[in-house]
């Protein structure tokens, strides 16, 4: 296997332009990330931090108001930004798949499960209905759905939330993609069902050699599932690196505070570290570092100049002036 990353984002920026062109929302700003084959990358951030827009940018499936305005996006050595819409279509669902947040809403209520699972196989591989259905049957078995033959002929509303989420998973892996992007795939599920689903995703990853991108607001999922993590705040990746390193030695004050603000099981009633203030509005970002108004360690420089990505250690950049100091 070559050392070349499977997916590479280089200073990628996606901006929303409002109808009159008066306001620009920098939903994704200068994001650089790499993902290697078989690896799991977690992208964490709060609502409005731009993580979903980032995922949709990778697939180039943005809403009309959003545009990729800069940077580069390479998948398996190919420049995705140079692809025609038709070429992108052959990548979506076939080589890069994605699971959406809401399993209840992401299946079409009017078609059978079999039809919807077989669909990508038929479209991308041009196989006939019968063969596509038998493939769908084995896919349902892959995602541990009992009695797949019967389930194929049923409609989505006849199934529970956990089952539907598995079906969405089956659709995603139907064409043996290289990368699977999962956007908050477990937020609507119960704790024990979430555990089932996370285990399933890990098994699928192993069996099919997938690279996973997990988009979540939950650091716990990152801790359990991911090899590397990128922390997003106000459209920027403010810190990224190997999961253990980030949890043990976070360089950015936001990452640090985030890790410390989560109650731990068995830690007893200690006081939590709270982050004061509110997440910023992407349309009116503060000057300088966008975390600066909430940062307890902000210095004068933070208020005027946005910090660049500074390598705290190899493969561990952080956008913070303090990281710069600690390095020296």
């Amino acid at each position: 296997m070559s050392d070349r990353p499977l997916l590479e984002l280089d200073h990628l920026s996606t901006h929303y332009v409002t109808a009159r062109g008066t306001r620009i929302v920098r939903a994704v700003d200068e994001v650089s990330l790499t993902l290697r084959a078989g690896e799991t990358l977690g992208i964490v951030g709060e609502s409005g931090s731009g993580k979903t827009t980032l995922a949709l940018s990778i697939l180039r499936l943005l809403p009309p108001a959003a545009h990729i305005v800069g940077g580069a996006l390479r998948f398996d050595g190919e420049d995705l930004l140079a692809k025609s819409p038709a070429q992108m279509r052959h990548i979506r669902g076939k080589r890069i798949a994605m699971i959406l947040q809401d399993p209840m809403a992401s299946l079409n209520p009017l078609f059978t499960v079999g039809d919807q699972v077989a669909e990508p196989v038929r479209v991308h591989e041009g196989v006939g209905r019968r063969r596509a259905w038998s493939r769908a049957r084995s896919l349902l078995a892959d995602v541990r759905i009992p009695v797949p033959d019967q389930r194929l002929r049923e409609f989505p509303h006849q199934m529970s939330g956990g089952m539907r989420q598995r079906i969405v998973g089956a659709i995603a892996i139907s064409c043996e993609p290289r990368i699977l992007i999962a956007d908050e795939p477990t937020t609507s599920l119960d704790v024990t069902i979430q555990a089932q689903y996370l285990k399933l995703l890990r098994d699928l990853q192993r069996e099919h050699g997938l690279a996973l991108i997990f988009i979540t607001h939950n650091l716990g999922i990152v801790a359990r599932m991911c090899d590397t993590v990128a922390v997003m705040y106000a459209g920027r990746v403010i810190e990224s690196g190997p999961v253990r390193r980030i949890f043990n030695a976070p360089a950015h004050p936001y990452t640090q505070a985030l890790i410390e603000s989560i109650p731990r099981l068995g830690a007893g009633p200690t006081r939590l570290t709270a982050i004061d203030g509110q997440p910023p509005d992407l349309a009116v970002l503060p000057a300088g570092c966008s975390f600066q108004p909430r940062c307890t360690r902000a210095i004068e420089r933070c208020r005027h100049e946005a910090p660049p990505a500074i390598e705290v250690a190899p493969g561990h950049p952080a956008r913070c002036w303090l990281a710069d100091q600690s390095k020296r």
């Binding site: 004061d276 203030g277 509110q278 108004p293």
Partner: protein, 301 residues
Amino acid sequence: MSVSPAPASPSRVASVPVAWRLAAFRTEGLPMIPIMILVTLALVAILAELIAPYNPEVGALGERFRPPAWIAGGSTAHLLGTDHIGRDVLSRLIFGARVSMVVGFTAVMVAGVLGTVLGILSGYLGGWVDQVIMRVTDTWLALPALTFAIFLAAIVGPSQWNIVIILGAVYWTRYARVIRGEVLSLKERDFVRLAIVAGCSKRTIMRRHILPNVLNTAIVLATLMLGVVIVTEAALSFLGVGVPPPKPAWGLMLADGKKGLMAGYWWLTVFPGVCIVLMVLAANLLGDWLRVKLDPQLRQL
């Protein structure tokens, strides 16, 4: 601790009280065309006596079927021509605006108040109150509005105020339906539960927590309904069960205009129709605009 109020997120803007929003309006956002049409028509209706050149109900038989001034045979004495008994079309149109305005607004008010109150009671109280109100509503909604109105008009006989009551009786069900749906979802909102926990009575909850939150919907509905009501009034008058002659209602003028239609006296058909369309168009435009501004959920009415 920094707790400066965060800027409003755009998705929540729709839930601002009407009065508060209206106060904050700047003219730039307003739909000027429909407002200008409605204001003009309202002024015309109010000042009809001052503007109209002739008595709208009295004609001169010698002046029958005069074409508009700019057509050969017309004169500036009757700018928009005269009808089959020599009444001045312009004067009748001016007084007709008054009829349409008065009938339209009062009927919408009657239907709106009745429907909103019953919708709130039905939705909030539930139980048998809800059952009774909703079964009546469903059945009345099943009747085609125009046919129902014709039937009622045929029973009570034509008069301007009867028409108002009839239209109110026919159209309140639309409000009740929509408002009830809204109330049912409001009822499940936590602030209503918290009001119960705080010890508020049912009346207080309906007045303070439910009513203000359905007002936007009621206003949007009323605006959209204005057009419907005006067309229905015109249709009733056109059929002869609406405003009784010789009062100058636009629908009545169209009915009269039919007498000269085959002879090619087009102005008797075109002008009253244009007036109706202008007014309905203005109401619909305003309603659409309000709907987008105040109540994005009400999409397909």
